[in-house]
Symmetry: C2
Subunit: 385 residues, 2 copies
């Protein structure tokens, strides 16, 4: 995870960190008034980069606007990538991050794909910890709440030619967030989208780049106008299921021999390698192998990374072999689906009493236990002692 | 071209323009030192928008940095679109824009696709003219030079949820530019690219959005490492030719019955509807129909918007029926191609003595004549009297 693009220039150096305290700190709002991504803490982290000097002085300073040149490449050519991760505070006040190494690895992969500079992920984690420690009183105490951490890397070269930027800025901002489902899980309806694509072979769908997001806004509005919450992104003539809105997706079938199969599309270049996706797969596989049995999940579980077509979904639904379906991502963790609008008809999907299904419920319980620290695991990385 | 998204809020109103003169104007650099897109004039135009108030007060003010919130949607989700157009100054000092109505129409189409606000294109043209008039001494006097005009529209909502922004900023900056080919035309070699795509069905390739540009930087670097200047973007299993780098593309065949056929891919949703593309097609069709014969172009000309596969290109090259190939765009106008690297072999393409071919040369002559004002036409729109 070193700066491969510029081997001769300095990487990110936490020892050079400069801290300027916010002398006018804000009062965190009541947790029940939080709206996702609208409230930010008192401080932010910035690290400039240029092609000659490499990574410059990391600074933690008061949250506030940047000076941005009108010609900055990010404003014209979308040279931006980001990550989303969460810091949790347990009942004793101990703060943890969840699998931040996965985010750093993906962030560097994103940087390579878009010709932005790579960096030492461990150094950035160290600096993010410093930032969180300063603003840790912003993490709401209520269960299910967390601090959303948004590292972003943008091209800031002052020139409107299209090319690799010779200047960039990495910044990290923090936003206190409530639980995605404030009052129980609410299954969502999806619009099986064939008019628009999220990704294509040879494109950027496997990277967490800004370019994958803005084009999805209009399709989401179109789906909402038809009464569906999100897009189910379908691909190719066979209408392969790929992702749900801005989440990875899972579907559970009863196989013809009566086993239970948890399926998600493979990382074929169009699918974002989600941290929650990987965590769900890992927990399910450790259950299936007997390494770490999940509570309240009985019977044989098959875990598959394979392609699924809408034809298979329709056939399974008609045969009563569709068990459940859900999206998986950092914001919502697990988001159950109860309906797919597809080619003019609705396919109904079973959901449990509280909205979650028989496979997602035990996985979710283990996963959020590990995130919140009630279930100890290596995935939980201490920010404070 | 009115603000369809917000019919009840004010559109852009040139009468509200406020002008703040730059009290510290710069001296334009010598024209022979200009590098594309690195030098900007003394002033810029900004027009804010928000969902409640609509389009706000247009301002012409000193060129300088914006205050940009770290949470601004453009920095995270690539909510940006732009245009590229040129202002020319003729020998008498008269300044003109070339077909600006085409840019305004496309800019509004781009805005609709990415859920940014639309606007009255004529009003923006009026304001752009005001801006150019103030900085017209920045247009280099030398032949082939011009002022590149860059309207940009970005989402500036201060929230990191993915959705239509409730705040946006339209700005226009100006950059003096020299001729793309300072000393005669230099044909370029293309790498027939199958590993990466520029666009896909259901994607955004037909819109001038930032998201179409950043992902092309790495493929261009890869092509350059193999000794090719630009990517020839191929699509599908048949390897359809789509675009060249950031330009539309044209190819000229001798048909089996001896006619000359000028071909460009149709606007099927993956092709940018380029202003230069449209101008080349229009001039070629007016020649073919006899409405406006081009000088130094003899014989029957067939003008086709149709798909072309690499198989057809290879077959035509082998049979000696490949006449020429060129890119077409605002920056270079016409950019001849002399070679395509494809699946491990090079396909050589004829070029004329000065780099241009027998069809592109007469089209280019008419086109730049209309741009520079030496050939009067309705495409040339006066900025000054």
């Amino acid at each position: 995870m070193t700066g491969e693009l510029m081997p001769a220039t300095p990487d990110i150096q936490p020892s050079r960190l400069q801290i300027t305290r916010n002398t006018n700190p804000a009062t965190p709002p009541p947790s029940n008034e939080l709206v996702f991504g609208r409230t930010f803490t008192d401080h932010m982290l910035t690290i400039p980069w240029d092609a000659v000097s490499g990574w410059g002085t990391p600074e933690i300073k008061p949250y506030g606007p940047f000076q941005m040149e009108p010609s900055a490449t990010v404003l014209h050519y979308a040279q931006t990538l980001f990550e989303g991760m969460k810091a949790y505070r347990d009942e004793e006040g101990k703060v943890t991050l969840f699998r931040p190494d996965m985010n750093m690895k993906r962030m560097n992969n994103s940087a390579r794909r878009i010709a932005l500079p790579t960096f030492d992920g461990n150094a950035l984690i160290e600096l993010i910890k410093r930032l969180i420690r300063i603003d840790k009183h912003w993490i709401p105490k209520e269960p299910g709440h967390s601090l959303y951490v948004r590292p972003t890397l943008i091209g800031t070269q002052k020139a409107i030619g299209v090319g690799p930027p010779n200047e960039a800025l990495l910044f990290v901002i923090l936003s206190p967030v409530g639980p995605y489902y404030a009052s129980g899980f609410k299954p969502v309806a999806l619009y099986g989208t064939t008019e628009f694509v999220r990704a294509a072979p040879g494109g950027t769908g496997a990277y967490k780049l800004g370019v994958n997001y803005a084009p999805g806004v209009l399709p989401q509005k179109s789906a909402a106008a038809l009464g569906y919450a999100q897009n189910l992104w379908l691909h190719g003539e066979e209408h392969y299921l790929t992702e749900v809105g801005t989440m990875n997706m899972f579907i559970v079938f009863t196989t013809e021999d009566g086993s239970t199969e948890l399926v998600t599309p493979p990382l074929d270049g169009m699918i974002l390698p989600g941290v929650t996706r990987d965590s769900v797969l890992t927990l399910a596989r450790e259950h299936a192998s007997g390494k770490n049995k999940l509570a309240n999940l009985s019977g044989q579980l098959i875990v598959s990374e394979r392609s699924v077509t809408m034809k298979e979904v329709k056939t399974a639904a008609a045969a009563g072999r569709l068990v459940e379906m859900f999206g998986a991502g950092t914001a919502a963790v697990i988001s159950p689906v109860d309906r797919i609008g597809y080619m003019g008809e609705d396919i109904h999907i079973p959901t449990g009493e509280d909205g979650m299904g028989p496979v997602s419920r035990p996985i979710w319980t283990e996963l959020v236990g590990r995130q919140w620290g009630t279930i100890p695991s290596e995935w939980s990385v201490p920010v404070t002692e």
